[in-house]
Every structure is written in C-alpha cells, then in structure tokens.
C-alpha cells in the first residue's frame, strides 16, 4: 500500500493522480448540494432559488413563524417517542436474537428484512390505509381517552410509523453487538450466583449499551428526517418539519426552508457525531462505525 509506493513518490503515478482527482470530484458532488443550502439560507430575497443578496432575515423570521416553530417542536416530540419505542423494542428483539436462537430467528429476520427493503412509499400508504381502517393507531375510541400535548392521536400515528423502520435497525445493531460477545460472560455471572436481574444489569446491559445508545441516536435522526411516512400519516396541526418543507415545494420555495434545513442539519450532525464517538470509545473500528451508522451492519 502506501509504504510500498513510498520509494517511487517523486514520480507522478497517473493512476494515483487520476484516483485522487476522482475522489475530489466525488466529494464535491456529494457536498455541493448541501453547501448551497447553507449558503442560500442567507439569501435575503423572496425566492430561494434566485440569489438576491446576503442577509440573515430568514433566520429571524423563523423565530416569528408559528407554523415552523410548531413543526419543529412536533418533530422533536415525534423523534423522542419513536426513539423510546424503537430502542426498547429493538433492544429486546436484539437480545432474543443473539441469546435465544432457534427456528423463529429465520422468520423474524425475514420480517426485519422485508421492513428494511419495502419502499417507504409502500409503508406509508399501507399505514395510511390501516389508520383509516382501524380509525387511529390502536382502534376506535382510543384517541378520545388520551389527548394531551405530549400524547395524542396525531403523535401516536407518527410514533408508530417512524418506529417501524428504526426498530428493525436497532434490532440489527444490538444483535450484532451481542453476537460479538460470548455468552460465557453471562454464564460466569450465573456461576457466581448472580440472580437473572442482576446478571442483566451488571453484565448484559453494559455490554450492549454502546449499541443501544447508537441505535437510539440513529432512531432519533431517522425520525427527525423522515419525510415520506410523515407526509402520509400526519394529521393537520401536528406535522413535522420535513412535511412543512415538502408542502412548501408546491408553491414558491422561500429561503426560510433553507434556514430551517440548516438548523436541523446541524442538529442531526451533532447527534451523529455523538454516535460515532460512542462507538469509537467502545472499540469499534472506523469501518464498523460506518456500517453501524448506515444500518448496513
């Protein structure tokens, strides 16, 4: 590799040079559209797509726009709920897959696979049909019982919708983590007379914690970014911010869309860097971190 190439460094290798240029072009391709969103969020004009002059007026107007403010708050509420659901369900399923294997694993993994490969638009219309059919996520009448700012019908529809995909992702991450550790650690604890509850708390939980944390933060970012399922299942008055942006596309896009996107981008990147740091701390290689973060592990 690089050490082998070292003695010939003074001669320019056309293949190497070509690869370097290619890599720069790919990075440019990947980053320019994000870069332009950040730049155009400072466009003071009325239409996002035609640059007028530099200004921070759209950031200031964000604060005054109750619809956007409400959509961001909804997004955060949805993300917290979906994260809690998918982290608990996914972790339990992950433990069962890693520690209680049997024939059921094939069926369950098949289901997880289907959840992951079904186009999101199909999931979205399926949920829409289903919610209309059963009148709410948990059947008729349920929405009348619980209706507050923190738990209500509109939020529940979104929690379930967002938790679907993230539960599958968390399940895979936790399973991969626990499969990497021999069950003998838990057996040793049993040998030392630790009761099951303590065994879980002192051995299994600390072992799986990085995966659970990574899974939770992934679920949070996935939910924060979800556009398609949200568009279909959100009820009027509690729609998350990507739905606001998506519906703005039908009219003229204003730079406030770029401003809110920039803020949410920073939030997502912050959450992801925490995931990366947590995984790195727990001894994963960069490659494993990447695999976990993309859910490809």
């Amino acid at each position: 590799m690089s050490s082998k190439a070292a003695p010939r460094r003074n001669r320019i290798d056309p293949v190497n040079a070509g690869l370097n240029i290619w890599a720069i072009l790919v990075y440019a391709f990947l980053f320019l559209p994000i870069f332009i969103i950040v730049v155009y969020s400072f466009n003071s004009g009325r239409a996002l797509e035609s640059w007028d002059s530099f200004g921070t007026n759209w950031y200031r107007s964000l604060v005054d726009n109750p619809v956007i403010r409400k959509s961001v708050i909804t997004s955060l509420k949805v993300a917290v709920g979906a994260t809690i659901i998918s982290t608990i369900l996914g972790s339990l399923a992950g433990i069962a897959l890693a520690r209680r294997p049997g024939k059921w694993v094939i069926v369950f993994m098949g289901l997880v696979f289907l959840v992951l490969v079904t186009p999101e638009i199909v999931d979205a219309i399926a949920l829409l049909i289903w919610y209309v059919r059963i009148k709410g996520p948990f059947g008729p009448g349920f929405s009348d019982i619980i209706d507050s700012d923190l738990i209500n019908y509109g939020l529940m529809r979104l929690w379930v919708g967002h938790a679907l995909f993230s539960t599958a992702v968390v399940t895979l991450i936790v399973r991969a983590r626990l499969a990497g550790f021999d069950e003998s650690l838990e057996e040793a604890a049993a040998d030392l007379y630790a009761p099951p509850g303590r065994r879980f708390r002192q051995i299994t939980l600390p072992l799986m914690m990085p995966a659970v944390l990574a899974g939770a933060l992934l679920a949070f970012s996935l939910s924060l970014d979800n556009t398609i399922i949200s568009t279909f299942v959100a009820v009027a008055g509690s729609s998350p911010w990507p739905v606001y942006v998506f519906s703005a596309l039908r009219a003229v896009l204003r730079p406030e869309v770029a401003a809110i996107s920039t803020i949410m981008l920073l939030l997502t990147l912050f959450a992801l860097s925490i995931v990366a740091i947590v995984l790195k701390r727990s001894g994963d290689s960069a490659e494993e971190v990447a695999k976990t973060i993309t859910g490809a592990g």
Binding site: A23, P33, P119, E120, E187, V257, A290, T294
Partner: protein, 321 residues
C-alpha cells in the same frame, strides 16, 4: 474463570446447570421479541396485505364519500396500472433505476478503491465519515440543494450564460435527466460504503502476490480485486436499486411533468386522485417489479459465478505414479 488452582475443587459447586435450565423455562425463546413481533405484524405485515386486498377493489362514485370499495373484487386495476401513461412511468422508472445503479457503481467503485487502498489509514476514518455526512443529511433537503444548482436561475446556469456557452437559462430542471442525476446523487453513498467494506477487508498481500506473480495492474484489478470485492458490489447494487426504484422524493422535487417515477405516481393516487384501488395495484406492481429484478439479478449472479468457476478451475498436471 477457574484457573488451575487446587482449592477450586473444594469450593461449593455453583448451580450452573440449574441456572441454565431455569432460563427460558416458562417463556418461549422468542418471548423478548414479542413487542417487536407485534409492531411488525400489526403495522407492517397486515397493512401491506391490506394494500393487496384493496388492489382488487375499485373507486366508488364520488357520492359515497369513500375512497375505496371492495364489494366487487377484480384484477382490472392491474390492467389499468399497466396501460398508457402509467405503463410508460413504470418503464421510465425501471430505466432510471437500472442506469442509476450502474452509474453509482461506475462512480462509486474507483472512489471506494481509493478510500480503502490508496488513502493513508490515518485519514481513512475521517474521509469515510465525510461520505456518511451527506447520507445523513435530510434526503429532501439534499434534493432541494441539487434543484438550486440545476435551476434556470441557479449558479450553473449563471456561469454558463456569463461564459456565453448558453444563450438562455439552463433548462434541465423537471426532466428525466434531472431525476437521473438526482437519484445517482442521493444513492451514491449506499454504493460506496459496502464496496469500501469489502475492499477494506481484502488482504493487501493478495494484490502484492498477484504483482509478484507477474500480473500487471489491470490484470490484478480484474482477476484479484474485483472478484474479491464482488460481495460488496452486489450488496451495493441491491442497496441502491431497491430504494431507488421506489423513490418518491427525487421525482417530486426534480421531475416535474416529464420526469415522473412510480413512487410519485402511487402517492398521487392517494394524495390527489383519491383512487386507492388503482394506487394499491400500482404499489403491488412496484413491489413485484423490485422482487423480479432482484430475483433476476440473483440468478444472473449465480450463473456468472458458476461460469467463472468452471473456466477458472485449475487442472493440475497429472503426476505419473
């Protein structure tokens, strides 16, 4: 845990056997996964089966106030979904996803090779992280970013006009071309990551051995690197092809009237046309199309592998006894 110490035997025997038998005595092995089972069954499997059921229904008259009727079941919605402009959209979508997957591979492979083989390991983690950032930026926002670049008032149009290459504003937005660029952009990281993982796992000694045995650079690439990276290439192709075929957002942001895709067509039946039966039939055809393509892909892959293995079989010269 128990070293070869002498006093181990004198300790009271821990209840290993009891503990082992005690676990899972009352509960089935999948018990912990039951909440996830329920979630997947009730909010994924059953609803998707419901789409299948609805796809045999029809759109009732406006007066009934219902978006769907299932008192008479028929397959005529499938006929409708596969005729006229709808069929054309299926064809265009298939074309966009095949070309898109191929372009992602052509762009992604050299990049993944560079990242896994040529980059100083010190920087590899950071550079890999940079590939993940766009992947985790909101899909919709990224696509809007691309739309600003390609728009008639965007920077590319401006530069080309200033240079005198274009006489009028750039006119690529809302075409099939724009959607094609959009999907390559949106799904490229999904191709790069698995190929990177496959190449990163590859022992550099294999490439060196190939070189030592007299193979040139391209022969090493063709006969060692690419075949060993095949699992990554296949994973990448699937990770790109499957979501790309069902893509809804890219065509909505960049496609306009000329660059439609199936995902958007399905969504329109539910959001605007209110023809749930037709939308459901289209969704089933979409799933069928993806499964068929993946199946074909797998068959071709297996066939190619069998062919290559037969051709490559090393026949040792028989040693006379």
């Amino acid at each position: 845990m128990s070293g070869p110490g002498q006093d181990v035997a004198s300790l009271p025997q821990p209840p290993v056997a009891e503990a082992r038998r005690g676990r899972g005595l009352h509960l089935p092995r999948f018990a912990l996964a039951i909440p996830a089972w329920l979630l997947f069954l009730f909010f994924f499997a059953v609803p998707v089966l419901w789409i299948l059921y609805y796809s045999f229904g029809y759109k009732p008259s406006f007066l009934s106030g219902q978006p769907i009727a299932t008192d008479q079941l028929s397959v005529s919605r499938y006929g409708e979904a596969l005729s006229g402009t709808f069929f054309l959209t299926f064809k265009n979508t298939f074309q966009i996803s095949v070309i898109g997957t191929f372009l992602c591979l052509v762009i992604g492979f050299p990049f993944a090779y560079w990242l896994a083989v040529r980059v100083d390991p010190k920087w590899r983690g950071l550079l890999l992280g940079l590939v993940i950032v766009p992947f985790w930026t909101n899909f919709l926002v990224r696509t809007i970013g691309l739309r600003i670049w390609m728009g008639p008032q965007g920077p590319i149009s401006g530069i080309l006009q200033d240079l005198g290459i274009l006489g009028s504003p750039l006119d690529v937005l809302f075409t099939k071309f724009a959607v094609q660029v959009g999907v390559v952009y949106n799904y490229l990281p999904l191709m790069i990551l698995p190929i990177f993982v496959a190449l990163d796992r590859l022992d550099p000694a294999l490439r060196e051995a190939s070189k030592d045995l007299g193979a040139g650079r391209f022969k090493t690439m063709r006969q060692v690197t690419v075949p060993l990276a095949m699992p990554g290439i296949i994973a990448g192709a699937l990770l790109v092809f499957i979501p790309l075929t069902g893509d809804y957002i890219t065509a909505s942001v960049l496609g306009g009237a000329k660059g439609n895709m199936v995902g958007r067509m399905v969504a329109d039946q539910f959001l605007t046309a209110q023809n749930w039966a037709l939308g459901s039939a289209m969704a089933m055809v979409l799933i069928g199309m993806i499964l068929l393509a993946v199946g074909l892909f797998a068959l071709i892959g297996l066939g190619l592998r069998a062919l290559v293995q037969r051709k490559r079989r090393v026949v040792l010269a028989e040693v006379p006894a």
